[in-house]
Symmetry: C2
Amino acid sequence: MTLPTPGFSFRVGAHDGSARCGVFETPRASIETPAFMPVGTQATVKALTPEEVASTGARIILANTYHLWLRPGAELVAQQGGVVGFMKWPHALLTDSGGYQVFSLAKHRTIDDDGITFRSHLDGTEHRLTPEEAMRIQALLGSDVAMVLDECPQGGAPRSVVEQAIARTTDWTKRGLRVPAAEGQARFGIVQGGIERDLRLSHLQTIAALEVDGVALGGFSVGEPTSAMYDVLADIGPKMPADRPRYLMGVGTPSDLLRAIACGIDLFDCVLPTRNARNGQALTWGGRVNLRQARHRDDQSALDARCDCTVCTTYSRSYLRHLFKAEEMLGPRLLSLHNLHFYGALMRKAREMIRDGELGPWTRATLAQMRDLDEIVGFQG
Amino acid sequence: MTLPTPGFSFRVGAHDGSARCGVFETPRASIETPAFMPVGTQATVKALTPEEVASTGARIILANTYHLWLRPGAELVAQQGGVVGFMKWPHALLTDSGGYQVFSLAKHRTIDDDGITFRSHLDGTEHRLTPEEAMRIQALLGSDVAMVLDECPQGGAPRSVVEQAIARTTDWTKRGLRVPAAEGQARFGIVQGGIERDLRLSHLQTIAALEVDGVALGGFSVGEPTSAMYDVLADIGPKMPADRPRYLMGVGTPSDLLRAIACGIDLFDCVLPTRNARNGQALTWGGRVNLRQARHRDDQSALDARCDCTVCTTYSRSYLRHLFKAEEMLGPRLLSLHNLHFYGALMRKAREMIRDGELGPWTRATLAQMRDLDEIVGFQG
């Protein structure tokens, strides 16, 4: 099935309940879905080379428009072939709109119906982000997929605030789509609505009716109870467009991903696997492993005996723990590689289970093994 | 030529003036000399995997006895096959005696003729290092080459202090050698004497007369003028044992290495290539490159067009600078790989030039290209 933007297509190959597996084709990559997109905030997936990131199975990564716009600057990146040319990533790229970081990182932001004025968290300089500017910057960054600018209210915001954010996001989406698309760049629209099911559903219908190449769910994992997110996902996931990629932004834990896949989600991004890695927390088929704990001091076993990544087939838990205790850079590096490898393996296995019609039993068995994983707080950003 | 310890040999294959190239065989590696040993202080060459370190040409690395003794502990390391088993380094290892770090890092140290009492810089616990204890710990660490305990006076110390350090080092060397050697572990003695030529020469004769497998020069690059080191090296380098490896400890810059090779030195170690990498300083065939400088902002050229490492064949100076400006871990990682690759290439080329009898002209031409390199202060530690 071709998508509105030339060069892009999405084909669903199998269903299992509401879950589906398919292939999202961009000019740069053929992405099997469900897929996890590692986060390369500043044109680098922290601590890893592009070659290593690709070795985890990733064929699309996310970069942050806000960060790259402010440093080193979108024009500089454009001169070097966009983000993929700059960082030498050989596959596809999605850029966010910059809005989320403006809300979470920038100083003195003021929002009006036209856009957002803020000061850089780096040097205090004033900038203005509008739907049109978000498109201009992402065209310079040269991503395969650009996100339209949205307004993301905080978790637990009153219904009236959520309604205003929805109205603004709809208007901004239309304005973003009026900007002529950069060649080879698809545009995804974002659905807001917090955990209010009726608002989510009506905004989904609004966004899906526009000429977007994919539909994203924003405004999750921003402080609301996880169970509330699951309830909304179960309701609206299956109602998202069948013929376009569905993207759940900034989510989440392995458990979040498996549950969202069951609701029909195709794409994910999250800093959790790399951020937790830098804090010494591994995600494994057996659950969370905090390598700083004393119980790993003499443990010569692999981090995860069921994992075939080079970290698990080479080093002992004892050595990995030593690297973290000694504050050695190799610790975060190796754990980032393992965690992304685990996320890649989880997606690969989920696709296989969907094709086999075994997603439900496999998900239940897998979640039971990962008994600790629900305790991890999801991250967005 | 076999060395005193079974399983070790050293064979000189070619001479060029006082310089020589040869092969130092240990049970774990065949090391072509002159060779540079990357420093893996805490059982990791900072930011790099063993595979990457080996890719730079290194076949022997150095680990620090002081650090590993205090954390994670020599017994724990011994249980996991020594340092090489713990960190999965597939080639040879040299451990220092621990003395240098006790002098430079530990708190409240008191030295007497029997040994040194000090408090750990990590947790303040009291420890005692003697020549016998240094051997015991290094046997647990399982290095191919252990260093005997020496006393290293500060640069510029009065002659009487240097004389006392020499007397103690001689006594400690004899005591260290009386400890039965661990299987497969050679022992190198250390020559002190600061920049006093007569003291250096007489101590060299004393140490060389003992049953050591190699002779090291300690106490250089500790604050003395570089030219004074070169003067002493020119005098005593050629007088070091012809049939055993000669090791200049803690030195140095590329220029230091080339000059010392001309004086007949075979082995080097230094934190400079990896430490400077973490500060954004690359060492190249064209001299020093500080990647933090604004002039690299838009520079799409390779870090060093004459270097064939993956960093130079993949990334632009502009991207590498961005990684340092954005404080991304990938910056120190990539630059560490390049710098060690450059040191490896420098040693490889020096060996080739010695075999071709072209070391002198090549060294002069190389140093002229690296016009800035002499400004780098050498590091030991």
